[in-house]
């Protein structure tokens, strides 16, 4: 019954998506209003069908109906309800189904928010997104069908991978990352629409920027949460290992970040149109490549749940999308004429250009290191992987250069900068650079790269704060307004500029924290008997003993430690060893004790009941919690940048009220 209904919903969505794709193209070509209306209706219908199919699968999972193949594959009578609910994305077929729901939502939302947008490119855009929908719906209908009937239904299932049951972050990391991947279909569709219609007007640029930024926000959160999950669950003491799966998510993030910046040049100067669209198309292709790499089992990791046959389908789709993009770009890029030439060497425009160059270089480097092992295995049949030093060697200098650029760029004026302006920009952040480097030196950093990174970070933080607070500052000076009130009203108006500086601030915090945590990290591996102690970083840990708790699906062995500094105990930390009844081998859960200066990270390797000896890996990871905080700030910034601007109306009101209004406007208009 559920199986039949699920299949019917998916088949209907294939039909809806196909009809919508043709309808969109037809509406774009003919300009027919009724074709456009039908395309929009089909977009909503597709979203509804996908959501309904997901709701049905959720029902099967929660009701533990093992006559449905996916529920039988990941379900287990022994797991709590919330685990059953989130196991929708704990394995391949379910995650593709869930993917379809997010895709439907994105298409429907883009359609809804642009229902009155007259841009001739929009019907093409919706049609393109629906064409992508055809592929995903086909994937769910065939190669990754989660609704296969199972007869006879097994009495119980194995339950999801224990690593995925171990932490609440697993509930939010995948949906965020999926939204960040799938959402790229929106900018992709809009860019293709622009190319097909041969125009890149403001009514297209606005949704393009909005949806690129929305998806960028999701992707950022997804990547950071993935790192956080690895850090809290996997027990090797780090959050990033240049694993193929991590790289797969970083690649579209890099190109999307580049596109967000070059899009600003398109809006302000009317230049780099073709380049920006190329970046957006590349971003979408990279999300498909990333999905292929993480889901098809070509790389073995916690993400490639099992070998599957979706690989060839994905590869075919990737090849088709790549050929289509190249063909479209080569045929239509000439239509996108620049309204101006790029000016002088030392303007803010150049800073954006260098930003794009650095981000694309980083993308190519990471792509090369990620795909190279696949090529070698395909050609020579030998298995290799690319070690972290390769990535670090490239990413560290490029990252430092990007950090510095986040400082010098906003300090440069638009247009053409003279030597004096250039000089002023070059010294503007020096105090911040000196302060950050000095703090690093005082805290024992002797690593040259770290000091350079800190200086660049300090430079950029100072310039960012100056630029972000300039309007409020001007307001305070001009109107004698209370500085906090001035800042609050600036924030409440929702400002794109303010938002982007807040994003920069968040990213800078992340970059500095990553630099510090990766260079100043300390670790020790020890075996301890009860009462024995060890030292890691500035702290000591003492093994107090073990205790066990029985839960529904596992037995949890807690290994208790007292944390102390200079002999004074200040906390207890309990890393765990989980014995899942469905698994042969135990899975450890590390304990992370966070302080502002860093994390004490304890991970149990082994517990020997007979001798009472525990094997322990301990890490001192400086500043790691700042990474999670920085990501939060970046997301707040993205929301601020997306917030509908009330500035114009506010400015009108202010003009009527006080003579200070021109000063405000001047303050805000001086970038």
């Amino acid at each position: 019954m559920i199986s039949t209904l699920g299949k019917a919903l998916i088949l209907a969505s294939v039909v809806a998506a196909t009809a919508g794709a043709f309808g969109g193209i037809a509406a774009g070509r003919s300009g027919s209003a009724s074709a456009r209306r039908w395309t929009w209706r089909l977009a909503y219908l597709f979203a509804f069908l996908m959501l309904a199919a997901n709701a049905l699968m959720e029902y099967a999972l929660i009701a533990k109906d093992f006559s449905i193949s996916y529920a039988a594959q990941v379900g287990s009578r022994g797991v709590p309800g919330w685990v059953a609910a989130v196991s929708l994305w704990s394995s391949l077929d379910g995650s593709i189904l869930f993917w379809g729901a997010i895709l439907g939502l994105f298409i429907a939302l883009v359609a809804w928010f642009n229902r009155d947008n007259p841009a001739p490119s929009l019907p093409y855009a919706i049609g393109t997104m629906m064409a992508v929908g055809v592929f995903f719906a086909f994937l769910i209908a065939g190669p990754a069908d989660p609704f296969k009937p199972v007869f006879p239904a097994p009495p119980d299932g194995p339950g999801p991978n224990p690593l995925l049951q171990n932490h609440l972050l697993m509930v939010i990391h995948p949906p965020m990352l999926y939204a960040g991947y799938v959402g790229m279909v929106a900018p992709f569709g809009l860019a293709v629409g622009g190319l097909l219609a041969g125009s890149l007007g403001r009514d297209l640029l606005k949704p393009l920027r909005t949806w690129l930024l929305v998806t960028w926000g999701f992707l950022t959160v997804g990547i950071v949460l993935g790192g956080w999950w690895a850090y809290e669950v996997l027990g090797w003491g780090g959050y990033w290992a240049w694993d193929p799966v991590e790289n797969a998510s970083l690649l579209p993030w890099l190109t999307a970040t580049a596109a967000l910046h070059s899009l600003l040049l398109v809006e302000r100067r009317g230049i780099l149109k073709g380049w920006t669209l190329t970046l957006i198309l590349a971003t979408f292709l990279l999300t498909i490549l990333g999905t292929f790499m993480t889901r098809s089992g070509v790389f073995n990791s916690v993400h490639s749940f099992s070998q599957s046959d979706i690989g060839p389908t994905f590869l075919t789709f990737l090849a088709m999308a790549l050929l289509f993009s190249i063909g479209l770009l080569s045929a239509r890029i000439g239509v996108m004429k620049a309204d101006a030439d790029l000016h002088g060497g030392s303007s803010r425009e150049s800073a954006f250009l260098v930003n794009n160059l650095l981000l694309v270089t980083l993308t190519l480097t990471v792509l090369l290191g990620t795909v190279f092992p696949l090529v070698v295995e395909a050609v020579r049949g030998t298995r290799i992987s690319v070690g972290e030093p390769y990535f670090n060697r490239m990413a560290v200098p490029l990252g430092v250069a990007l950090t510095f650029l986040m400082g010098i760029g906003p300090a440069l004026p638009w247009g053409t900068a003279g030597l004096r302006e250039l000089g002023r920009a070059a010294i503007s952040g020096i105090p911040g650079a000196l302060v950050f480097a000095a703090v690093g030196l005082v805290n024992g950093s002797r690593n040259a790269w770290l000091l350079v990174a800190l200086a660049a970070g300090g430079f950029a933080v100072q310039v960012t704060l100056q630029q972000a607070l300039a309007p409020a500052f001007a307001r305070w000076r001009a109107g004698g307004e209370n500085p906090f009130k001035a800042l609050a009203s600036q924030l409440s108006q929702g400002s794109r500029r303010m938002g982007s500086y807040v994003i920069h601030l968040g990213v800078l915090i992340i970059l500095v924290a990553v630099a510090a945590s990766s260079t100043l990290r300390q670790s020790s591996e020890k075996t301890l008997r009860q009462g024995e102690s060890g030292t890691v970083g500035p702290y000591q840990f003492t093994f107090l003993g073990t205790s066990a708790v029985d839960e529904v699906n596992r037995r949890v062995e807690m290994v208790r430690f007292a944390l102390s500094k200079d002999g004074v105990v200040f906390a207890e930390a309990n890393p765990k060893m989980n014995h899942y009844f469905a698994m042969r081998e135990p899975v450890g859960t590390p304990e992370v004790y966070s302080l502002p200066s860093g994390d004490i990270y304890l991970s149990v390797m082994s517990v020997d009941q007979e001798s009472g000896v525990v094997g322990l890996r301990a890490f001192w990871n400086p500043m790691v919690s700042w990474i999670w905080g920085g990501a939060g700030i970046a997301v707040l910034g993205a929301m601020l940048a997306l917030w509908p601007s009330r500035r114009r109306s506010a400015a009108l009101a202010a003009e009527a009220k006080s003579a200070a209004a021109p000063a405000i406007a001047a303050g805000e208009a001086a970038p």
């Binding site: 100067r269 000016h343 094997g615």
Partner: protein, 169 residues
């Protein structure tokens, strides 16, 4: 949202600079990008990690020295030398026929024992001994421990290496 657009200075007149400058800039970008990619590619060869079984490692002989190798196989019977509480561990990795002695520093994971599949990342030192820097126990759900004395095929060693990847992430 449109505030930035409103305050744009009037677009600069076209053709203030010759059109060639665009091509020139593009060429400069390509050259710079190519140079960096070349540097990156150069670094690639030195930072590869090879996935080998004991037979392949012995075959490579002196050529293997200095390279980072992920050695997969079974922990040989009666080869483990480890005192509870110590952090020096000696054992041998075998495919049932060829055996490579391994030395590592650190605490062995809970599941480590003779006969289990392991992956050791490390290098062959001057003395020809395998010096491990990371030890992972292979524990895939689908993994079937081979019978004692059975020789491991290439596919099985691949499986062991794959299954151990979760752990090190």
């Amino acid at each position: 949202m449109s505030d930035a657009i409103n305050q744009v200075a009037a677009p600069l007149p076209r053709a203030q600079l010759p059109k060639k400058s665009g091509m020139f800039a593009l060429g400069a970008l390509l050259i710079a990008g190519g140079a960096i990619a070349f540097v990156g590619f150069g670094g690639l060869g030195k930072n590869l990690i090879y996935y080998w079984g004991p037979a392949q490692l012995l075959e490579a002989g002196a050529k293997a020295r200095g390279a980072t190798i992920r050695l997969g196989g079974l922990v040989a019977d009666n080869s483990v030398k480890y005192e509870a509480g110590a952090t020096e561990l000696d054992f041998a990795v075998t495919d049932g026929e060829k055996t490579v002695p391994v030395h590592t520093k650190g605490v062995p994971p809970q599941m480590f024992r003779e006969g289990i599949g392991v992956v050791v990342e490390g290098t062959v030192n001057e003395a020809g001994k395998f010096e491990g820097s990371r030890l992972m126990v292979s524990h895939g759900n689908e993994y079937r421990a081979p019978k004692r004395g059975e020789k491991l095929g290439e596919e099985q060693i691949k499986q062991i290496i794959n299954d151990a990847k979760d752990e090190q992430k």
